[in-house]
């Protein structure tokens, strides 16, 4: 199913929460709304589910109008499944009955077959008769997913589906979740504040801030071609250095020259100053380099070190360095730029 969000607006008590939100999810795509808490992403999800009204704009499922001025299809008639943040399993039903819950208008035999199929799909075949309180957090999450998928919804909404789990489980379940969604070909939209969760599951991510979508792109483009300074800062880590644009399009910095940035989204005119985004992998440790930087702090991460460095002009940058390069704090080490994607913004006034 194709989900079309068209100019959705919503305010609470005069405060705008959603301002003119529009995007489209192609059939079978997994989309994600990523943003800090309070950015409006959950409100948007609830409008799509039909729990909230919109002040303006439309929600379409293929050609079916779900929400529009004067139209609000009741949630039960939308054929939208939802996985809630706290799983919200029915405590009085066992695992199988929870999964079969939404199949109530189908014949008993079909209901059982379908529920068994899903319990298999989420890898809980042995736990059919357990009650929710006897399951671990990860198992509860799988039951919640199976329950939402069982009626074969045209669209699945996921509200921070992994946030109640610990880090290791989050990574593992994220990949599994994506696999299951892809197998059923369900169009899905998740909201989260956690970029790992977004990147692990989604095909396309919309970064939200103060009720607007700042950028809608693939995870790769969000990281390497952030459209705004907010996206650059919110997604991944990095730092800004001052650069001066040269006539040939490249940019001069304290670390040396960076090659020509992506032409379309650079505010460069020859002679102007810009803020250049440097990801930790853009700053490479090289003993042969003439440019040196002082080690201010370091974090050992196993395979590599994340160094915080101070350049001669005082700017701080992050650098990812293989872990056999173990330098002391205060030591000066050689660094150079190695940028595949140069991202620059107008300097902050």
């Amino acid at each position: 199913m194709r989900l079309v969000i068209d100019s959705i607006r919503r305010s609470f008590d005069g405060t705008p929460v959603l301002q003119d939100i529009s995007f489209t999810l192609a059939p079978g795509t997994i989309g994600c709304l990523l943003g800090p808490s309070g950015c409006g992403k959950t409100t948007l999800l609830r409008i799509i589910a039909g729990f909230e009204t919109a002040d303006g704009g439309r929600v379409l499922a293929d050609d079916r109008v779900l929400t529009a001025p004067g139209v609000r299809l009741p949630p039960p008639e939308r054929h939208i499944g939802m996985v809630f943040q706290d799983h919200a399993l029915f405590p009085h039903l066992d695992v199988l009955a929870n999964i079969a819950f939404g199949l109530h208008h189908r014949p008993k035999a079909e209901r059982d077959t379908r529920a068994r199929e899903l319990i298999e799909a989420v890898g809980l075949a042995g736990l059919a008769t357990r009650r929710p309180h006897e399951l671990s957090g990860g198992q509860q999450q799988r039951v919640a997913l199976a329950r939402a998928l069982a009626p074969g919804p045209q669209l699945l909404l996921l509200d921070e589906p992994l946030s109640s789990l610990d880090a290791e489980l989050r990574r593992q379940l994220g990949a599994e979740l994506r696999q299951i969604l892809k197998r059923y070909g369900t169009t899905a939209l998740l909201v989260t504040h956690d970029q790992q969760e977004a990147f692990a599951i989604a095909d396309e991510v919309g970064v939200m801030r103060d009720g607007r979508i700042e950028q809608w792109a693939t995870p790769y483009d969000l990281y390497h071609r952030p459209a705004t300074r907010f996206v650059a800062e919110f997604v991944g880590s990095g730092s800004f250095v001052v650069g001066r644009c040269r006539a040939d399009g490249s940019i001069d910095t304290a670390l040396g020259a960076a090659s020509a940035p992506h032409a379309a989204d650079c505010p460069c005119t020859p002679g102007s100053t810009v803020d250049l985004l440097l990801r930790p992998d853009d700053v490479v440790h090289d003993d042969a380099s003439a440019t040196t930087a002082e080690v201010l702090a370091k974090a050992f991460r196993g395979a590599d070190f994340l160094y915080t460095l101070r350049l001669p002009d005082g700017t701080q940058v992050l650098s990812l360095v293989p872990s056999h390069h173990d330098h002391h704090i205060g030591e000066r080490i050689g660094v150079r730029l190695e940028t595949d994607h140069v991202v620059a913004f107008e300097p902050r006034s």
Binding site: A49, H92, P132, P151
Partner: protein
């Protein structure tokens, strides 16, 4: 020191304390069993053939009727108040608990006095519609079921409302995303989720109905409790009373089993999320939905309250004499003594469990607090045998050392208090245990490191923290003792009238309106625990 080592250090003391407190109800139960089994076969046959069938049928009809009607009223009212917005909703939400302050036996005599053929309602109606008018008789099986349901529905209402409120919005949203209409969601999600609480409330209603003596006595509706009373007071047949009590205990055990099962199921049945928004009703729907709680409150609270007040005023001038005041004084004195004794026992028990939180101590604590399930009439009969035995022992001991045993233990205030202690220990135990549970071992350890040991620890840390729980427990026991009728009636010292006993005596003489004065005093005191309950329950709104 790790906690298990600490528990081992505490050793036998706590276990002995718990065992001693639990010995009270256990002794009563053993006495009942011995008494009921040890009766001569001839007596047994008489009872089986002539008394038991009628009494059993009446009791079962009453319990089933009241449990179903009170369950229905309580559930429907709780659902309306938590799902819809209608005029006066927020007032109804708490006011529907107020009938808890009116004992069923008070509502009973008010209903009879008001609705009987010669009462003000029928007289007035005949004045309007002519002499031929007849209402269905209030003194009937239907009448007693209706009155008791109006008095007991708050048990179900309170628990069911809590359940509907805590299910929250989430349950309804999940149901909606899975394609359920609101009506289907009510039947398939909301009611099943609330079931353990509704069932728990209904089990409590069943236990209260089985224990009731005052109401059925007023209605002249013969159940186990009135049969025990008759065997005890007019036939002077302790054997017959014991056998009837034994049979009643079996019925109580069934209700208790349901109650405990419901409680166990409550532990895992919450679904979180913010409270569901209430749907606003307008027009005739709002009027219809407002009418139900309004009618219930009118019948269970407002009209009885007005009648009690009017009749009390009518008789106050003549009846408010020295006898009345001494009865009131005895009620208050008994309530205070019982509150002190029961709180002391409950604290000892709670500390014993805290010091030695193993299965045995916990099991003993559960046994000790099961006394709340025993009907007052059963307890009165049950304490008789052990106390008589003890009396004989003392008498023999006195004779052995050449002294005179001055009296007779039966019919002393001590026995009365002992029976109260068994019946109301659970009432005091629950708030104290909850309160003590919040004083963790690390609070103790922290205080010790700061130099507060032993009594200083108790005085400076525990007592201030326990004060709310203690006050609540004492207030609850005090009021329950004020209202209590059968234990007081059957084990009080000769001539020791209390307010509740006066209500019984006046109503058994058909002096309905004169009973209003002592009853009003009981109801006013009874408002106290309801106020406590409201303060706790109404905070979320």
């Amino acid at each position: 020191m790790n906690p298990s080592a600490a528990a081992a250090d505490d050793g036998r003391g706590p276990l002995l304390i718990a065992a001693a407190v639990a010995a009270l109800p256990i002794t009563v139960l053993i006495a009942l069993a011995v008494g009921a089994i040890g009766a001569p076969a001839a007596d047994m046959r008489h009872l089986l053939e002539h008394v038991l069938p009628g009494v059993l049928l009446n009791t079962v009809v009453l319990v089933v009727g009241v449990t179903l009607l009170a369950g229905l009223l309580g559930t429907v009212l709780a659902w309306l108040v938590s799902s819809y917005d209608f005029p006066l909703r927020s007032v109804f939400a708490w006011a529907l608990l107020l009938p808890m302050a009116i004992p069923a036996y008070v509502l009973a005599f008010v209903a009879i006095a008001g609705l009987d053929f010669a009462g003000p309602v029928q007289t007035a109606l005949r004045g309007v519609f002519g002499e031929g008018l007849r209402l269905p008789p209030i003194r009937s099986t239907g009448g007693v079921i209706l009155v008791m349901s109006l008095a007991l529905y708050p048990y179900v209402y309170l628990l069911a409302r809590g359940a509907f409120a805590t299910q929250g919005r989430r349950a309804l949203e999940v149901a909606a995303t899975l394609g359920l209409t609101p009506r289907q969601a009510l039947l398939r999600v909301q009611l099943p989720l609330a079931r353990p609480w509704i069932a728990g409330g209904m089990a409590l209603v069943a236990m209260e109905t089985l224990a009731d003596f005052g109401t059925v006595a007023v209605f002249n509706y013969d159940t186990f409790t009135t049969a025990i009373w008759r065997a005890w007071s007019t036939l002077y047949s302790i054997e017959a009373a014991l056998q009837l009590a034994g049979a009643l205990v079996l019925l109580v055990a069934i209700a208790l089993m349901f109650e405990q099962r419901a409680r166990a199921a409550q532990r895992h049945t919450a679904l979180g999320g913010p409270a569901a928004p209430r749907r606003r009703l307008a027009g005739w729907r709002a009027a219809a939905v407002t009418a139900l709680p309004a009618t219930v409150l009118l019948l269970a609270l407002v009209l009885p309250g007005i009648a009690l007040g009017a009749w009390a005023l009518e008789h106050a001038a003549r009846d408010l004499d020295a006898d009345w005041w001494s009865a009131a004084g005895r009620s208050v004195a008994l309530g205070l003594m019982a509150a002190a004794l029961v709180c002391a026992l409950a604290i000892a028990l709670a500390y014993a469990v805290r010091a030695r939180p193993d299965g045995t101590t916990r099991g003993l604590a559960r046994l000790a607090t099961l006394g709340y399930a025993l009907p007052g009439t059963v307890l009165a009969v049950g304490v008789f045998l052990p106390v008589a035995g003890l009396n004989n022992l003392f008498e023999a001991a006195a004779r052995a050392i050449g002294a005179d045993w001055p009296g007779y233990l039966q019919g002393t205030v001590a026995v009365l208090l002992l029976a109260y202690a068994v019946r109301f220990l659970a009432v005091a135990h629950a708030p104290l245990e909850a309160n003590l549970g919040r004083i963790t071992r690390s609070i103790d350890d922290g205080a010790r490191l700061l130099g507060a040991e032993g009594l200083a620890l108790l005085r400076r840390v525990h007592l201030p923290l326990l004060r709310t729980g203690l006050l609540t427990a004492a207030a609850l026991v005090f009021v329950d003792v004020m209202k209590e009728m059968p234990i007081t009636l059957m084990t009080r010292p000769f001539g020791w009238d209390t307010l509740a006993v006066r209500v019984f005596e006046l109503t058994s003489e058909g002096e309905w309106t004169r009973a209003a004065l002592p009853a009003l005093a009981i109801v006013l005191v009874g408002l106290l625990p309801v106020a406590l309950l409201l303060r706790r329950a109404e905070r979320p709104g």
